[in-house]
Every structure is written in C-alpha cells, then in structure tokens.
Symmetry: C2
Subunit: 145 residues, 2 copies
Amino acid sequence: MIKNTIRAAQEELKRKGYKLTGPRKAIINYLAESQEHPDMQQIFAGIRAEYPSIGMATLYRTLGLLLELDILRAITVKKNQLRYELKKPGDHHHHLVCTECSQILEFGSCSFKHISSEIETVTRYSIEYHNLEAYGLCPQCQATS
Amino acid sequence: MIKNTIRAAQEELKRKGYKLTGPRKAIINYLAESQEHPDMQQIFAGIRAEYPSIGMATLYRTLGLLLELDILRAITVKKNQLRYELKKPGDHHHHLVCTECSQILEFGSCSFKHISSEIETVTRYSIEYHNLEAYGLCPQCQATS
DNA sequence: AATCTAATTGATAATTTATTTCATTAAGGT
DNA sequence: ACCTTAATGAAATAAATTATCAATTAGATT
C-alpha cells in the first residue's frame, strides 16, 4: 500500500527530528509510487515534474538522509551504478540483478533471519538490516547469448 | 593460501584471453596480500610502492575488469564508499559492516545456497554469484553510544 | 494568526571521482 | 627476433559529489 509507505517514511523523518519539507515529501512520494528501481537521474527528472524548483544538492542530501535513516535502500547494479527503492513497512525482499541488462527482479524468500541471531552472538555485532543481491542472467539475456 | 589466490586470478585472466601485464600482476598481488578490505585510494597508494609508474586510469580499468570477471568483490560500506577483496578459491563468506566506523568483519555462514536453486527455478534467472552484507554496530561502537 | 528560530533549500562554486583520448609500450603468439 | 594487437600512462575531459552561503520555510512559541 503506497499510502502506508509514504506515511511510514514521513513519520520516521519526524520521529528523528527532521522537518517534513516540500522537497522531502516530493522525493518520498516519487519513490513510493515508482514501481521500477530508479537511479538518481531518473529520480531527479521525475521530481522536477512535480517540484520544478528542486536543486540537485537537495536530492543528494535527501537520498543520503533517507539511507541513513534506513528508509531507503540502494541496490548496486554495477560499479558506481546505484538504483533506489523506498522500504515498505512489513515487506522484506531481496534482488536479482541481471549482469547484462541491469534488470532488477525482486524475490521474497530470505534465509538470513535463520542465521542472523547466531551471527550476532558469535560476532557481537548488533545487526540492524541486511542486503542480499544475487547476480546472473535474466531469461532474456540468456536467450540472447 | 595467498599463492593459490594469486594463481587463480591470473589463470582466470588468461583463460578469458586477457594479457597478464605488469600492472595487473601488481594489483592482484596487492589485493591478495592485503588482509583488510582496502578502498581505491589505499590500493592506488599501495600499488605505487611496488609499481610507481602505474596510472590511475589503469587501476580503474583493472578493478572494473576484475569485477567483471568475478575475481574481485566490492563491499559497499556507505553510499559511494566501496572496499575491495579478491576472491579466494574455495572460500565463501559474507560481511558485517559497522554503520558507525565502517569496520568490516567476515562471517562464514551463508544460507543462500539453500534457496538459490529454488529462486532460479521460480525466476528463470541463472545466478552466477551473490553478495550479502549485514549492517549494524560493531562491539566497540555499541559501547561508545 | 503573527512571530521567532533554526533547519533546510537552491544556486553556484569548488572539489573529487571517473572516463576518454591517443601516442607509446609490451605481452604473447609465430 | 619479429609482429600484431591489447594494454598502459599522461593528460584532457567529463561527470558526479560536496561545500558555501544568502534566502526561505517548517514548526514551535507566543
């Protein structure tokens, strides 16, 4: 549910003492509504449609902030090529990335929770979140090669 | 075993038809011998000690190539902060990253293999490799906060 | 509703990072 | 030893990211 995603993100911002500004709302809205996994350029272009005055420094700052707050996730498609997605409350998934065409597919099964607490015990780290990305060829690129 | 790591990387280069040049050897050696997980700056500085004439374009090109060939792995410590490690034959592990001090700790348990083939069946992707990174606070940073 | 204060913004400049270009070098096959 | 072509390194160029700072605005306080 998009509305929940937006609300959760906004509340997290306020909870941590950050102001809910126009640019931030626009960025959150754009991310929540985008089904694909846009990169920075796409986000910038997309936001400008709704909020033409936004500067690129603000976008950098805001994405950095959302990542910091663990509201946003970055998916590494290639070296120095990140794509973004807003975290949805109650949802947990990971990504398959095509090494050829950079298509991203989500998959729901996550086996990390089974070993998470053991790793915490052994390493004494307190784990806050995790990312798993699997790389390979999508069906189309398998056919092409 | 460092020698095996170096040999495996070199053989993979040759196998794919790339030349085994001085700069490439120097970079592979440096990466194989470094116990920590160096970033680009550290690698550049480290290589220059052994191979002073190396240019930075060559380092960029070589790291890109090694990543492409799946010999090298990049660990995302923060947005736009990558650290590198050469893959060791027969070894498989993942990383814990401290969100505060960026310390990296390896852990051996990987639960992905159990679900990998199911994901391949369901998604029709052919998976070549995967990366898992867990983020949290290291013991020291927990104590500080 | 008007006021206040500090966080936030956006334009620009400055900086850092990454890529392209191209003449020169050297790897590896013959 | 030679030959062909990939690879290198220096420099130029381009692209990405961050810092600066006056102007704006969110949200608390009256």
